[in-house]
């Protein structure tokens, strides 16, 4: 099962492993098939922008402005095509950026080839020369969010407010601290502390611009979030970070109990509805006679 490593210390969710694996395989097939057809800027937007900007400052990964001046093209192309191999080889520069990135390793982007890496480097080089790159990322204000922002974010999360471009509401796959009883979806991780995990507004909003996991990418590729929606969601996640994540085992016990009591209630209801059903003839005769004292 391929998962972005920055989610490694998530509480284990209750998705059955084969299901998650199947979803991942599907998503991978989907994304790789399409990655070939994309042009480079789109590829960058979808695969790189959730951790990197060009001239927008560092997020999880470093700002890529002028990266070709910091390292040789050959090293960069190598690193892009197989970041894990370079990191495992003990390369000191790779170790350095690994540490700087809070030990989140660079994932291998889907559909990455030597040729694509070269094209990406060309793109970064070209964009670095511009005064304002299109990949500067979403610049979110540092002003405190209002209660209205938080409420709007919650509405988007729960699906009460539809996403403008038709994306799926967060609750379908994610749970969060203040979703009652049955909780949200269990496919994705609990998002109560996602604000802390992604280290603040900038990275979180960058992530939301182009969610990069195998499961989220295909779901949101054609339904990108609007800037206002990202704003509201970040406000909501920032507010949520003040709470501890809901205990998933507690949820599961509630769910189990609800199921058991529901089933029992149904059985009683059926038994009541068919109270006079046929249950044999001889036994009731004998019982009735015994009751009469015969």
């Amino acid at each position: 099962m391929r998962r972005p490593k920055n989610q490694q210390n998530e509480p284990k969710t209750a998705i059955p492993r084969p299901l998650a694996a199947a979803a991942a395989v599907l998503a991978w097939l989907f994304s790789s098939a399409f990655a070939q057809a994309q042009d480079t800027p789109d590829y960058f937007r979808q695969n790189c922008m959730n951790c990197h900007t060009i001239g927008g400052g560092r997020l999880t990964g470093p700002d890529l402005k002028d990266v070709t001046k910091r390292q040789t093209r050959d090293w960069l192309a190598n690193f892009l095509t197989n970041p894990k191999a370079v990191l495992d080889s003990g390369d000191p520069y790779a170790q350095k950026i690994f540490e700087e990135s809070r030990r989140v390793p660079m994932p291998m982007a889907p559909g990455m080839t030597r040729e694509r890496a070269e094209k990406l480097l060309d793109l970064i080089e070209a964009e670095s020369k511009l005064p304002e790159s299109q990949f500067k990322g979403l610049q979110i204000s540092t002003a405190p969010f209002t209660a209205a922002d938080v409420q709007a974010g919650r509405d988007i999360f729960t699906g009460r407010q539809r996403l403008a471009s038709g994306g799926t509401a967060c609750i379908a796959c994610h749970s969060i601290h203040d979703i009652a009883a049955l909780g949200g979806g269990l496919l994705g991780p609990d998002l109560t502390n996602v604000y802390d995990r992604l280290k603040g507004r900038a990275s979180l909003s960058a992530w939301l611009v182009a969610p990069g996991t195998e499961t989220m990418q295909p779901a949101f590729r054609n339904h990108p979030l609007k800037a206002e929606e990202i704003h509201s969601l970040v406000a909501y996640f920032e507010d949520a970070a003040r709470y501890r994540p809901a205990d998933p085992t507690g949820d599961r016990v509630t769910f189990l109990l609800l199921g058991l009591f529901g089933a029992a209630a149904l059985l009683f209801a059926f038994d009541g509805a068919w109270k006079w059903r046929f249950r044999g003839v001889r036994r009731p005769l004998v019982d009735a006679a015994h009751k009469r004292g015969a």
């Binding site: 059903r277 046929f278 044999g280 003839v281 001889r282 036994r283 005769l285 004998v286 006679a289 009469r292 015969a294």
Partner: protein, 496 residues
């Protein structure tokens, strides 16, 4: 007129001694296999009683038989709408408890028990679990026991009896019971055949025997639920339903069915009758009080030239027609009208008829002497201990008329023979009795002959079955012989 032939039966209940020899003969021949332990294709019930399975006559519980709805005849247990919701389970079926848990005895213990101060015993062992069981029910649990508070008191035929009549049935010196042997009725309008979703049940064209194709049966058990007489049984081992086959392999070789052959009281009669298949639907829809006469009208006179001609046109062999002319069943049912169908209100038109039994008269106990209300101890039918209403429920679809007619005729035959052989009854009284019973002296003599002096050949007029011709309809014997030889149904093949 669409003439068909049907093997029909009469059981003369006045002669049944309740020995169960018929049941045992049947059991030994057909149902001592695994999965059939609880089945009694032939069983004998003590009446009044609830029978086997318990209260099979109570169709409010078992929903068997046909029901007239408007102009339509519908199966009570199933239908287009009920098939799907009941697809895995027919709700109104007898459970094992309603039949009984079959058991045997640990006979080996009689030989193998270690020496001790007591006699070894053979304890009852369940044939279902193999564990020792406390037997508390059987296929005729109240055998020879009238008036029991559980079984006799719950007989479905007691409906319409006054409280006093019910009490009499269970009071000392009034107790009465008779026996009702039962097999499949091989009905003219069989509900089991109509209910089968797999088309596994069929009524044999040449003799009307109702059979279950063991290859096609899919264990839906719709027949078990549909048969109002509960004479189809489910074999839990083979996963197929089974029923009385009227010993057709014996019939085909000219022998009476095992239960008929073994009957000690010689109560059983068997013969072929011709009937008009075109009128079945119309008759099955008649109101309750016209059903008996309606069914009789379907049975055709085998001596009528028009009937004979129509029968020949329908491919009925001359041998079968001759056999129908000698049929004792035709005499008892159609000519003498002393044999009646059981519960014809289920509208399956059963082809097993019963001659209702005469019962002793009621008695009073004053001080220490017992007075009978009638001097004619066994002959006064309206003072009989079994109320007429009870017989009417069992054999008359609720109508006393046909039952009283049948009993009066039997009574008249007795008085007639009494006047001849003993002479303590004067001839004039006997003749008056015969007139009242709509009976001539010749008819009385014929009834007497067939009832009391009947030979094996009189009782069982088995038609030639012409199986060779029936077989030719399905396959050419010469071709079959050339492909596999006789003695095989499928040819031997090379390999495992």
């Amino acid at each position: 007129m669409n003439v068909r032939s049907q093997i029909a039966m009469v059981f003369h209940l006045d002669k049944c001694i309740g020995c169960h020899t018929c049941s045992i003969a049947c059991k030994n021949v057909w149902t001592d296999r695994k999965g059939t332990e609880y089945m009694w294709w032939n069983n004998v019930e003590t009446k009044p009683g609830t029978g086997y399975p318990t209260k099979w006559e109570d169709q409010e519980k078992y929903k068997g038989g046909w029901e007239k709805k408007g102009d339509d005849l519908q199966i009570r247990s199933t239908g287009k709408a009920k098939v799907v919701p009941n697809i895995f389970h027919n709700p109104h079926m007898p459970s094992m408890d309603d039949y009984y848990e079959p058991w045997t005895y640990d006979y080996q213990n009689l030989f193998n028990a270690p020496e001790s101060d007591d006699q070894p015993t053979a304890r009852p062992v369940s044939m279902v679990t193999g564990e020792e069981i406390a037997v508390e029910a059987g296929p005729n649990w109240d055998d020879d026991l009238g008036g029991s508070s559980i079984y006799a008191a719950n007989d479905a035929n007691l409906e319409g009896l006054s409280e006093q009549q019910r009490l009499q049935l269970s009071s000392v010196e009034q107790l009465v019971f008779f026996y009702l042997p039962r097999i499949c009725n091989h009905c003219l309008n069989p509900c089991c055949v109509a209910a089968c979703p797999s088309g596994a049940l069929y009524k044999r064209g040449e003799d009307g025997i109702v059979l279950i194709d063991q290859q096609r049966c899919r264990a839906w058990r719709a027949c078990v639920a549909a048969c109002p007489y509960k004479k189809v049984y489910y074999n839990w081992f083979t996963g197929k339903s089974e029923k009385c086959i009227l010993c057709f392999p014996r019939l085909e070789t000219g022998q009476a069915p095992a239960c008929f052959h073994s009957c000690v009281g010689r109560i059983r009669y068997l013969g072929v009758v011709l009937y008009d298949a075109d009128r079945l639907e119309e008759v099955a829809k008649l109101p309750n009080d016209e059903l008996i006469e309606g069914q009789r009208s379907v049975i055709l006179d085998p001596n009528d030239p028009a009937v004979i001609r129509a029968a020949r046109e329908n491919g009925i062999q001359d041998g079968v027609i001759e056999s129908a002319q000698k049929s004792p069943v035709y005499q008892m049912v159609k000519v003498w009208k002393i044999a009646l169908p059981p519960h014809i209100e289920y509208r399956t038109l059963p082809m097993l008829f019963y001659v209702p039994p005469l019962a002793p008269v009621q008695a009073n106990k004053t001080n220490d002497t017992i007075d009978h209300v009638s001097e004619n101890l066994f002959h006064d039918i309206d003072q009989a201990r079994v109320p007429m209403r009870y017989f009417a429920n069992l054999f008359g679809a609720g109508n006393e008329g046909p039952v009283r007619y049948a009993l009066a005729k039997q009574k008249a035959v007795r008085w007639h023979r009494r006047a001849i052989t003993v002479g303590d009854v004067d001839r004039a009284t006997a003749d008056r009795m015969l007139r009242e019973a709509d009976c001539t002296a010749e008819e009385a003599e014929a009834i007497y002959q067939l009832t009391s002096l009947c030979t094996f050949e009189d009782r069982f007029v088995i038609p030639p079955m012409y199986r060779e011709q029936a077989v030719e309809m399905l396959k050419d014997p010469h071709e079959h012989r050339q492909s596999v030889g006789f003695g095989f149904s499928a040819g031997p093949k090379r390999g495992l």
